[in-house]
């Protein structure tokens, strides 16, 4: 069952995360073209090599339907495989395995996976205030008949922070809680960001005291345990083994994947402290025929520190309930014994909407390809990547292996 492991990431590009207020505004179609051109250049391939397209459907500025056709037309390409992925922060991981699967099915040879996440220019008579209005409820639907509109919003249950906070609180009651260990996740990742000039918080080191002294947002989560939303965007090229052979980079083969979607609101989880990643990662490792201990690095989706903690446990890097001890006893920096989120993670790199998760995919690829600059791991052949959407609602895992 699963992939043969013959499709590979061969090129990537992403915008340096920037504050929304100062980032350039570009139409999403133009970002798609720009990111595609940069990723193709990185791969050493041409636009005419592309015959597959995977794109984010939700939040695409210039269209809400027929997004792939509009984007393919803009790129001037025809494709044998077109897909929209709607998995929030799990979109990136979801795109990569869908592209790999389509390639192994023989549908296509070279797939562009792209997520434009800079703001588009405002129309001449557009009131920028609508944006703030539209963002008010975060990922919560306000549509008539949407269960969350009716049963969550009236009580103040909305946005991501409080959902993750309640997961952390439940975890604390079941297994105990060490605030300093949680802070160390953010601090070790911040150390990594000091070696990544593209990271939002490069040049701004962080201490455990800083994290614990930062404002409490929703108990037990401090503001420095929560990602900063930024403008950005990312593209990744996935190809067949044959196309990979003529690309410039060392390819990162997609050896295993898993995907699991368990609920929309974690309140309805069977067990709030067991994440969908448990099943997704189990499948990914089994498909690739490897174990967590075989990984040279882990690029774990980190919208919050609690996401990282539960992912470490549920992906099998440490036993359930021992995540805090694992964090305390291991050096999670790129120089350490357990390199985690070597680009800084989204906590220190910045979270550009659903492109944020692509930063983890791209870091895994860059480490395997030897393109990680000052933070390059000495040896990096196998990397675990995870994606997380909603409030731990949908998660995915990838096992990437250098060719």
């Amino acid at each position: 069952m699963g992939l043969r492991g013959e499709a590979a990431i061969v090129g990537a590009a992403q915008y340096k995360p920037e504050k929304y207020a100062t980032a350039p505004q570009m139409f999403h179609l133009e970002q798609v073209a720009d990111l595609a051109a940069r990723a193709l250049e990185d791969a050493g391939l041409k636009a005419s090599d592309l015959d597959g397209l995977v794109i984010n459907g939700p939040q695409f500025h210039e269209a809400s339907v027929f997004v792939p056709a509009m984007a393919a037309e803009y790129l001037g390409i025809e494709v044998n495989f077109a897909e929209v992925v709607d998995l929030g922060g799990c979109t990136s991981v979801g795109m990569i395995w869908r592209a790999a699967a389509a390639i192994e099915l023989g549908l296509c040879e070279a797939v562009l996976c792209v997520i434009p996440m800079r703001m588009a220019p405002f129309a001449p008579n557009e009131d920028p205030a609508w944006m703030a209005q539209a963002m008010r409820f975060g990922g919560h639907s306000t549509a008539f008949g949407a269960p969350e509109a009716e049963f969550d919003l009236p009580y103040g249950h909305l946005g991501q922070n409080t959902g993750y906070a309640m997961i952390a609180q439940r975890y604390a009651a079941q297994y105990g809680y060490d605030q300093a260990a949680m802070a160390k996740i953010a601090v070790d990742q911040r150390t990594n960001a000091q070696y990544n000039p593209e990271a939002m918080f490069c040049g701004k080191p962080l201490s455990i005291e800083d994290v614990l002294g930062s404002k409490m947002v929703a108990d037990p989560l401090h503001v420095l345990e929560i990602v900063m939303p930024v403008a950005g965007g990312a593209a990744v090229i996935v190809t067949s083994k044959e196309v990979a052979a003529r690309s410039r980079n060392r390819p990162a083969f997609v050896k295993g994947f898993g995907e699991r979607l368990s609920f929309k609101s974690p309140s309805y989880a069977k067990d709030m402290t067991v994440t969908p990643l448990a099943e997704a990662a189990r499948r990914a490792f089994a498909m690739a025929g490897v174990k967590p201990g075989d990984m040279d690095a882990a690029q774990i989706y980190d919208c919050y520190t609690i996401t990282v903690l539960l992912s470490l446990e549920d992906a099998g890097f440490c036993p359930k309930g021992e995540g805090m001890r694992f964090v305390r006893e291991n050096d999670l920096t790129w120089k350490g014994n357990f390199p985690l989120n070597t680009h800084g993670g989204q906590l220190s790199f910045g979270q550009s909407g659903s492109a944020g998760g692509m930063s983890q995919v791209i870091e895994a690829f860059d480490q395997i390809a030897g393109n990680a600059g000052a933070r390059q791991l000495k040896r990096c052949d196998q990397v675990f990547v995870s994606g997380t959407g909603g409030v731990m609602s949908e998660q995915g895992a990838l096992i990437l292996q250098g060719g």
């Binding site: 009716e150 009580y155 922070n161 409080t162 404002k215 108990d219």
Partner: protein, 311 residues
């Protein structure tokens, strides 16, 4: 009355749940096929997908599955409840419900604690939300406190609402209109004077003989804009008086319609209601829906959503 906070909009499916709360009962669904309990309300069982769910009254006892204390409001509208104790409660039946905890100190809250339901009536219409408190607390329900009740009244009997009191301003919003104003007559002399003033002397307003023959109304009719401005002569009695602002500006209209004609010689009267109150960067924006009718006519001759800006 509308609240600034998001309110549940019940559907055909959820009506028994919300109606139950309004009537003082907690009702959730149970599947007749698999006996599984279901929350939130649905048509199909979330355990076996059978289209066979029954509403059952439950006592609202359960345990606290998890919670968080919000130190930053999840919406500005919840600032008055800070810190909110957002909670996931697991009822004895096994279903989980998102809610908030009330009547508990922060250090009394523990995951796993026994809780019981508190019915919280949140508006004058009886709309009720389901909150929870410690099982050992005496609290059973939270009565509705009318934010207008404690405010002083002026010599006309109008409640005096400070522009700085958002809860009281929201309580003015209503589907109910004021009583009718005293009527006034719109005669041909008034119409002619308006025609001269405005320059709009189209025959349908100014030529009774031709209008008797050719007008679909059988007579001359008043200009819509004349009837609109006659609002100033129609003194409907607003039950409130906004106070504490430095300027009040007629900011125009969000909607102006003339659905029915006013034939010359008609008597008209008006009534109004507060359609919305919103805070904007410009100040406090009150939208007053003014309807002007010919006496005895159901259909308004003028609908004017008048926007008044206080700052």
């Amino acid at each position: 009355m509308a609240s600034l906070k998001p309110m549940p909009v019940m559907t055909e499916i959820s009506r028994p749940f919300w109606q139950g709360l309004n009537d003082g009962e907690i009702r959730i669904q149970q599947c007749n096929q698999c006996e599984g309990w279901v929350f939130f309300p649905r048509r199909h069982c979330s355990h076996c997908l059978a289209h066979d769910l029954a509403w059952r009254k439950v006592d609202g006892r359960g345990t606290l599955y998890s919670y968080t204390l919000t130190r930053i409001p999840t919406l500005p509208e919840f600032a008055d409840e800070m810190p909110q104790a957002l909670a996931v409660v697991e009822l004895e039946q096994g279903v989980r419900i998102n809610s908030t905890l009330v009547g508990l100190d922060e250090d009394e809250i523990r995951v796993g604690m026994a809780v019981k339901a508190v019915l919280d009536r949140v508006d004058a219409r009886g709309n009720t939300l389901l909150r929870f408190t410690g099982a050992d607390k005496a609290l059973e329900s939270l009565p509705y406190v009318d934010p207008l009740a404690e405010l002083p009244r002026n010599d006309k009997g109008q409640v005096q609402v400070p522009v700085t009191n958002p809860a009281a301003l929201q309580a003015l919003v209503s589907d109910e209109f004021t009583g009718w104003s005293a009527p006034i007559e719109v005669n041909q002399a008034l119409i002619d004077a308006f025609a001269e003033l405005s320059g709009d002397d189209y025959w349908i307003h100014t030529d009774p003989e031709r209008a008797a023959k050719e007008s679909p109304f059988g007579s001359t009719i008043a200009h819509g804009s004349l009837v609109q401005v006659l609002q100033s002569r129609l003194n409907f009695a607003l039950p409130f008086d906004i106070t504490g602002f430095s300027t009040m500006v007629n900011y125009g209209s969000d909607r102006l319609r003339f659905p029915a004609p006013v034939p010359a010689g008609s008597r008209i009267h008006a009534r109004a209601r507060v359609k919305s109150v919103q805070q904007s960067r410009k100040g406090t924006v009150l939208t007053l829906e003014v309807n002007i009718h010919v006496l005895g006519s159901e259909r308004p001759s003028v609908i004017n959503d008048l926007v008044i800006l206080y700052r």
